[in-house]
């Protein structure tokens, strides 16, 4: 379905890695401020769908429309620029630069966009405060707990004020208490700033933080909003 007012629309995406098809005609759409869970068994192509939507991976065929632009026809540099400016990312693990302090990690996307260090770190601090990790600002990622690290990552994903936040199993490495706190803060912050969230997860309780879910199975995505 491609309802009017969608921020990001993908139609009939195909992507094959080697001989393994990952996506075989997947559709997707999301509105500003909407939180959509992408669910499905492992290996179903959830992450590939996210990578295609975010312009990290170019689909073999199909189109990804973002805010009136066709992502698949943009150059690598243009897509990188888009990711820097308009998208945010949270992954399961291994995403913070170990040698930078937490606040420097959060400020990194802003700095990549050319924001000056002072300002970038000030804005980063504000976001860290919101995600309740202001106290670890000057520690290195190796020195903070998993839940804190993930919240630092969420702060980093939101610091540029992205219009779409892509979260790939953001709580995968956390226990349920920490995971839920992260999801709560993430969705709350996203809703407030009208950021659309594409949330890839295999956990129903994480998916329950979404507004609706899309199920990926056998490389196809099924929007469950209209089902009933």
């Amino acid at each position: 379905m491609t309802p009017a007012g969608s921020l990001l629309i993908a139609t009939s995406l195909h992507k094959t890695y080697g001989h393994t098809p990952a996506l075989e005609g997947a559709d997707f759409s999301i509105h500003p401020g909407e939180v959509v869970a992408v669910m499905g068994p492992s290996g179903s192509g959830k992450s590939t769908l996210l990578h295609c939507l975010a312009g990290i991976v170019k689909p073999d065929s199909g189109s990804v429309h973002y805010n009136g632009r066709e992502l698949t026809s943009l150059s690598d540099a243009e897509r990188s620029g888009l990711r820097r400016g308009e998208f945010g990312f949270v992954f399961q693990f291994g995403q913070l630069v170990p040698e930078l302090s937490c606040v420097e990690n959060v400020a990194l996307p802003l700095r990549l966009n050319g924001t000056r260090r002072k300002e970038a770190e000030a804005r980063a601090s504000a976001w860290m405060e919101r995600l309740e990790v202001a106290d670890v600002a000057h520690k290195r990622p190796g020195e903070v707990s998993g839940g804190q690290g993930q919240r630092v990552a969420v702060a980093r994903s939101l610091v540029t004020g992205p219009r779409v936040l892509f979260a790939d199993e953001p709580t995968g490495a956390l226990d349920s208490l920490n995971g839920e706190r992260v999801m709560e803060l993430l969705t709350e912050a996203a809703r407030e700033s009208r950021t659309a969230v594409v949330l890839v997860t295999h956990e129903a309780r994480v998916a329950a933080y979404s507004d609706r879910e899309v199920v990926v199975r056998d490389g196809k995505a099924r929007d469950m909003a209209g089902v009933r």
Partner: protein
């Protein structure tokens, strides 16, 4: 991000009371480590191979270095055995004597050693390497010379040797494979025609095998040189032993989980290292054997070695075989000291101990303290030379090692100051260095020694070289070649000049023929002798080159006073004076059989002029019209030759022409300055050595950089996901390499200058900094930075592909 992987604040584990570990336990753990090195899957194989290749490169170099003494000794023995030294008193001709003439020549830029010979009897001594003395017109050649003669390049050279090749000189008679050498037979008749000859009754020198005590200054240079070239190799081996350490640590953590204690893990790690370095020893031996074969065919700086000469000295080879594995184990254990391998992961000590400065400063200061008292008092002749040499060497070594030890501290101290300012790549690089500056400093420390040492020795040589580069006074614009033609009489000299004039490539020949004349009256001061003057006969054109004359016609005679002996006008050579041309066998004026010539009254006094060879002539100068050159009884002919530069190989044509005149005659090339060739060679060697070390270090930096990149494949993909530009990460890799290298170079320039100043003071030379040398070394250092970055970029970009994000 893995929370428990590196939680800080945790202290290193309390040392458990050390249980008494049996040898068997040790052996079992070491063996287990060795097994892990092989069976730990692709990763540990990769690590083992990296270590083995790294250690192997180092070992090969060490073995090569340890072969140098043997190679030189073997080479020296053969050179000594074939020496044909003439003595003050030639042995009387007999059945066991041989008549020799030095017939060495030069072809293009290659020196060819040659002897012409004629046996006096039936049992002449023969030089090593040939089966019999060549008969007249026959010659033995070295394989290298044979190859040259047979090649197209040797066409011109073939004309120079009017002999038939009867065989090649065997291994015994050669210093090395590229030795250019020949033995040619001549008849006694040919010898008699003005060939400088001497006799020997045996080959070889008496002091063969008896080493001369080394000049202390030379010893100093050799020791410092060894440290400069070998210390980086040792450092490289130490670095190689650490390759892949982080992965290994994680594997050890898994062992802790199943119950290994701290000591066990250390022993297992040691075993793994030991295995890698033993493999490296094997690789190194193989590389050495391979390198030996290659070196066997290569001529470096005019020196070549037979592969069979390159044999490591046994004690040195044993030392390498023991020290390398031992140091690998020690390095591993030292590296493990700073971390605690816990069952759940590797814990790096949260606040790594700040590097201490005092002992790092102590080393170079101690070195300086040893060197300072030697200032100005270091000469081969001074007393206590040996002790001073050792003191100097120890001082230099301490200074160099001290500079290396200072580096990690300096890198740490400087990097700490950066504090996260600057652009994103700069921030990434500096933060990375702050987290672990040790790896970077270790790799760079090799550079420091090599460059510091090279700079210091460079300075010493530059000064010495300056003094050895003298203006020769020769003027290559007026003539390019000079030949002293041995002639029996003036007529031969005339013929020789004519022959040169007819030679291809010769534009002009200035020929002078000279002989001595004596006064007819005894010397007033020393009545036992007659004063002598030289008489030079040459045509007007040639005379203009040696004396200042404005007009000259055939038949003119000129006089030049030699002021040093007689003062102005004090000589006996005056217009109208009689001079004696007759000399006896001893070379004394022979007035009893005097042959007189009267200097014409028209002879004019003139001033001397520097000739193209830089010499000034005095005495009587006569044109052929005034004096018949054939009347000179024992003349020497000097031909100064102007070449037609458009003719290639003009020099060789002249040399060929000379060889026809006499095989023992050499032709000298004139040049305005002369530079001692050895210094040029050593300079080059230093640069090559330092560059090679820098490259070696570059290689280990590439390995560590790639390793680090591979470790963070996932992180790189994440950075790409949120839009990081390639250039950003590329720059950070560049900075990460550049910062330690630049610091290392800066430190080594400081250390090198300090050591250089000390060395110069010791030999009492004025201070002079060799700026070009400095610039070159800095340039090479910059090149290494670029190289490491460039080699790292393709893998970096490959790892920046989004595929790294896929977890399944």
């Amino acid at each position: 991000m893995s929370g428990h992987d590196a939680i800080s604040g945790q202290d290193a584990p309390a040392e458990e009371p050390r249980p008494r570990v049996s040898v068997a336990r040790w052996a079992a753990d070491l063996a287990m480590g060795a097994r892990f090195a092989v069976t730990g899957g692709r990763e540990s194989w990769a690590r083992t191979i990296m270590t083995a290749v790294g250690v192997g490169l180092g070992v090969a170099l060490l073995l090569l270095a340890s072969s140098v003494p043997t190679a030189y000794a073997l080479r020296g023995e053969r050179s000594d055995a074939r020496a044909a030294l003439g003595f003050q008193e030639d042995p009387k001709p007999g059945p066991d004597t041989i008549r020799l003439g030095q017939a060495s020549t030069t072809y293009r830029d290659q020196d060819i050693d040659g002897l012409v010979m004629a046996p006096d009897g039936d049992s002449p001594p023969k030089p090593p390497g040939i089966s019999h003395i060549p008969g007249p017109g026959q010659m033995w050649v070295s394989p290298a010379l044979k190859k040259l003669l047979d090649s197209d390049d040797g066409e011109l050279l073939r004309e120079r040797f009017p002999y038939r090749t009867i065989g090649t000189i065997s291994h015994d008679g050669l210093s090395g494979p590229s030795d250019l050498r020949y033995y040619a037979g001549l008849s006694h008749k040919t010898f008699d025609r003005g060939i400088a000859d001497y006799r020997i009754d045996r080959w070889g020198t008496k002091n063969a095998g008896k080493p001369n005590p080394l000049d202390p200054a030379l010893l100093l240079l050799i020791i410092v040189g060894c440290v400069v070239l070998l210390l980086p190799v040792v450092i490289f081996i130490a670095t190689a032993a650490r390759f892949g350490g982080e992965r290994r640590d994680r594997r050890l953590a898994a062992l802790r989980l199943v119950g290994a204690d701290t000591h066990m893990t250390r022993r297992i790690a040691a075993g793994e290292s030991l295995f890698g370095s033993l493999l490296g020893l094997a690789v190194g031996t193989a590389l050495f054997l391979l390198g030996r074969e290659i070196i066997g065919g290569v001529e470096v700086w005019g020196v070549s070695f037979f592969s069979s000469d390159i044999v490591p000295s046994t004690p040195l080879a044993l030392a390498v075989a023991v020290a390398v594995p031992a140091s690998a184990v020690i390095v591993t254990l030292v590296a493990l000291r700073g971390i605690a391998i816990e069952p759940l992961g590797v814990v790096r000590n949260a606040a790594p101990k700040r590097r201490r400065l005092w002992w790092r400063l102590l080393l170079p200061l101690l070195g300086l303290a040893l060197l300072l008292p030697l200032a100005g008092g270091f000469g081969s002749g001074s007393a206590g030379g040996d002790r001073k040499a050792y003191q100097a060497a120890a001082g230099a070594v301490l200074l160099l090692i001290g500079v290396t030890a200072l580096l990690p501290w300096v890198v740490e101290a400087v990097v700490e100051r950066f504090g996260g300012r600057g652009s994103v790549p700069w921030q990434l690089a500096t933060r990375r260095l702050q987290l672990s500056s040790g790896t970077a400093s270790r790799a760079v420390s090799g550079i420091t020694v090599a460059v510091a040492g090279a700079i210091a020795i460079q300075m010493l040589f530059a000064t010495v070289q300056d003094q050895n580069t003298e203006r020769t006074g020769q003027d290559p614009h007026r003539a390019q070649l000079m030949a002293n033609v041995p002639v029996a009489d003036g007529a031969q000299a005339r013929d020789a000049f004519a022959r040169y004039r007819a030679t291809k490539g010769v534009r002009d020949v200035l020929g002078v023929t000279e002989d001595y004349v004596s006064d007819v009256h005894r010397d007033k001061d020393d009545p036992s002798t007659y004063p002598e003057e030289s008489l030079t006969v040459a045509d007007c054109t040639s005379l203009r080159e040696v004396i200042r004359i404005t007009s000259c016609e055939n038949g003119d005679v000129f006089l030049v006073d030699s002021p040093s002996y007689y003062g102005e006008g004090a000589g006996f050579a005056k217009p109208g004076a009689q001079v004696n041309l007759s000399f006896d066998d001893e070379g004394e004026p022979d007035l009893s059989r005097k042959k007189l010539w009267t200097i014409p009254a028209s002879a004019t006094k003139v001033k001397p002029r520097q000739d193209p060879t830089g010499g000034e002539r005095t005495g009587i100068f006569a044109t052929p019209g005034a004096f018949d050159v054939a009347d000179l009884p024992d003349p020497r002919a000097v031909a100064m030759i102007r070449l037609d530069t458009s003719v290639p190989d003009a020099t060789e044509y002249v040399r060929n022409a000379s060889a026809v005149l006499s095989p023992t005659m050499d032709v000298m090339r004139l040049s305005s300055t002369s530079q001692s060739e050895e210094f040029t060679v050593i300079r080059k060697a230093l640069f090559i050595g330092a560059t090679a070390t820098l490259l070696l270090i570059g290689a280990s930096m590439i390995v560590t950089t790639l390793e680090q990149l591979r470790e963070r494949k996932r992180l790189l993909s994440v950075l790409v996901a949120f839009g990081t530009r390639r250039t950003t990460l590329s720059w950070s890799v560049l900075w990460q390499t550049a910062i330690p290298v630049v610091l290392g170079l800066a430190l080594s320039i400081a250390g090198g200058l300090a050591l250089g100043v000390m060395l110069l003071k010791m030999v009492g030379q004025p201070l002079a900094v060799d700026w070009t040398g400095l610039a070159t070394m800095t340039g090479v250092g910059g090149g290494v930075i670029l190289l490491v970055t460039l080699v790292s970029l393709p893998p970096l970009w490959r790892m920046m592909r989004p595929e790294g994000l896929r977890t399944e």
